[in-house]
């Protein structure tokens, strides 16, 4: 009852004016699931909860978080990117070869990659194409390019990248710091700027945004370019951690990134996404997949299953909360 009366007392223009307890619970769900996984890890192995523990456990979470944010931009526009994993792999190959040997060519290629993403956004809008099929085709294209560039695993990350990925900031482990920065930047850009609202609106109600005079083509291009940019960052950070390239290195990222967005409270349609949630979702998946299982002495065979199970549990919780939301 107290919650309800406080809601009524709120002025109508508050951004969360309609907040009630199920809705709040729903918003907190990603953080709660991460906390739960962390608690489980702490319970199983206390030493893991330390500066070095987090640095090790969350190392691979950085590229996953960046790929998840890339996917989030696409999902904001009601599309789905089935090629992000292959794209991250291709960026990785460029990073481990051209970016080290011929930096100018490498930088131009990576910029070109962002350009290709922007062009895909334009193509999808112009011909009104199903993004699933276009990105499915692009999945082959990126994979093909990666194999051509680096037929066998190898190459080496540029030294500056290796150095920047092994920074040891005081007090806060690097991956945690990186996750905070990624979440803050995307949150501000997408949720707190006026153009961010337009971008989300293009997924929520494209007709309304179009009638209001905004270019839907431009919105789609910006969303895809952002996805390309974060995809490039994901590939760079991945190679900075693994030190060498492999054409298949990013293959699992497509599904992980979709799962991360959904886990973080994003919806498939309607431009309802949450940048902070997406980053938290990616961290949860990264922790649940490998460290948690290791501490539980389960074989790595069950890594992917752990991701699936977490996804199902969180979605079940969300369904329960939403049901209460509707009833109220």
């Amino acid at each position: 009852m107290t919650a309800k009366s406080s809601v009524a007392a709120r002025p109508a223009f508050m951004p969360f004016g309609k907040t009630d307890s199920p809705r709040l619970l729903r918003a907190l769900l990603p953080a709660l699931s991460l906390a739960l996984v962390l608690l489980a890890i702490a319970w199983l192995n206390q030493r893991a909860i330390s500066y070095f523990g987090f640095t090790l456990m969350l190392n691979l979470a950085i590229p996953i978080a960046l790929a998840t944010v890339a996917q989030m931009f696409i999902i904001t526009g009601n599309d789905l990117d089935l090629s992000i994993g292959a794209f991250v792999g291709f960026v990785g190959c460029v990073t481990a070869t051209w970016l080290r040997d011929t930096p100018i060519l490498g930088i131009l290629t990576l910029l070109g990659c962002v350009g290709v993403y922007a062009a895909l956004g334009a193509l999808i809008h112009w011909r009104n194409l199903p993004s699933i099929v276009v990105t499915l085709g692009m999945n082959f294209v990126w994979q093909g390019l990666a194999v051509l560039l680096l037929p066998k695993p190898g190459g080496r990350a540029p030294d500056w990248l290796l150095a920047s990925m092994s920074v040891k900031p005081p007090l806060v482990p690097f991956p945690v710091l990186a996750a905070l920065i990624i979440a803050a930047v995307t949150y501000f850009g997408l949720m707190r700027t006026s153009y961010g609202a337009i971008l989300r609106g293009s997924g929520g109600n494209a007709t309304a945004i179009g009638r209001a005079g905004w270019s839907l083509l431009k919105a789609k291009i910006v969303l895809y370019a952002c996805a390309g940019l974060f995809g490039v960052l994901s590939g760079l950070s991945l190679i900075g951690i693994t030190t060498s390239g492999d054409a298949n290195i990013g293959n699992g990222y497509t599904l992980l990134s979709i799962a991360g967005v959904i886990l973080g409270g994003g919806e498939f349609v309607g431009g309802r996404v949450s940048p902070i949630g997406a980053v938290i979702g990616a961290l949860t998946l990264a922790l649940a997949a490998s460290p948690l299982l290791t501490f539980m002495h389960l074989p790595p065979d069950w890594q992917v299953a752990a991701n699936g199970a977490i996804l199902i549990v969180v979605l079940a919780a969300r369904a329960l909360i939403s049901r209460r939301e509707v009833e109220q």
């Binding site: 194409l129 499915l136 692009m138 999945n139 498939f268």
Partner: protein
């Protein structure tokens, strides 16, 4: 001539047959006519596996936006392992093994639908989470499993009648049956109706839940069957056997003229699209290009085909 052209443009799926013919001709020009027939036979044999899962995927996609079965590769992998274990290399157990594969696929389809229904989540995510778990079960169950198919079953998947692979004939018959089921049965019409407007379909008295359940179950069973057949054809089950069929199943559905927005399906186009994709690979192989170029060209072709066909007209 004009009528023919109009008909061609009115039925975009014909392009897939045309494309298949073109890449085949390109390949035989390159080999100076050598192996033209063999190429077609091989293409028919391989297209079968894509068509079987393509039919399941087509029914699912026709249900409307967001409906897609991402669990097919994991399903194929697990079912192939289950089928080979049950058959245990014994010809007398082939029927039981096939039934086990169908049962395994059916169970996966049921789980998919339960996730969609109970958690009210988009099918993409439901089938994705299911596929994560199935994949792990398969890895864990199929580890070190090196079971060959019974010789009789392996031969069966390679039999040719008058030079045409028996599996292709059976699949063609099944495709016709699927086409009739889609256009002439209550079930098929219900799938189309749900894809066009789920609310109108519900108000018209269609048991939406039951039809969706049946569709996911059907897709699961076809995935299971495909797993068993693949294991027979390639003489052994393995975890990765179904990997390429996620992309392939969606690609043949779309290239074959089925609408991704749902409510409009084309069964005949599946064969054209599957033959086109297989022959495209055959052509690139005869040209002797590297794996990278093969992937690159396949990708460009898919993007080009969908761009040329264009998307749905926006519905307001």
């Amino acid at each position: 001539m004009m009528a023919a052209r109009r008909w061609l443009f009115a039925s975009p799926w014909m392009w897939s047959y045309l494309g298949a013919a073109l890449v085949w001709i390109a390949a035989i020009i390159f080999t100076r006519g050598y192996g033209a027939g063999g190429m077609l036979i091989a293409a028919l044999s391989l297209a079968v596996f894509t068509v079987v899962v393509g039919i399941g995927q087509m029914f699912v996609i026709t249900l409307g936006p967001g409906n897609v079965d991402l669990s097919l590769p994991a399903n194929i992998g697990l079912s192939s392992a289950v089928a080979m274990t049950v058959m245990a290399g014994d010809d007398r157990l082939v029927a039981i093994g096939l039934a086990a594969a169908l049962g395994c696929g059916l169970a996966i389809g049921i789980v998919n639908y339960l996730l969609i229904r109970a958690l009210s989540i988009p099918p993409i995510i439901a089938t994705l989470s299911a596929s994560f778990i199935i994949q792990s079960i398969d890895i864990s169950y199929g580890r070190g499993l090196q079971i060959k198919p019974p010789p009789g079953f392996a031969d069966f998947t390679n039999i040719q009648i008058l030079g045409i692979p028996l599996l292709a004939i059976l699949t063609a018959v099944f495709t016709v049956a699927a086409g009739i089921a889609l256009q002439r049965t209550v079930y098929g019409r219900s799938v189309l109706a749900i894809g066009q407007n789920i609310r109108a379909a519900r108000l018209a008295g269609i048991r939406v839940g039951w039809v969706r359940f049946a569709t996911y179950a059907l897709s699961g069973m076809l995935g299971g069957l495909d797993g068993a057949l693949l294991a027979g054809y390639f003489r052994g089950a393995n975890v990765d056997i179904g990997n390429e069929y996620l992309l392939a199943s969606v690609a043949v559905v779309v290239i074959g003229g089925t609408s991704v927005a749902g409510g409009k399906a084309n069964v005949a186009g599946l064969w054209g699209a599957a033959l086109f994709l297989v022959l495209l690979l055959t052509m690139l192989n005869t040209f002797g290009v590297s794996a990278g170029v093969r992937l690159l060209v396949t990708g460009f072709v898919i993007v080009a085909v969908i761009s040329a066909a264009g998307g749905e007209k926006k519905r307001d």
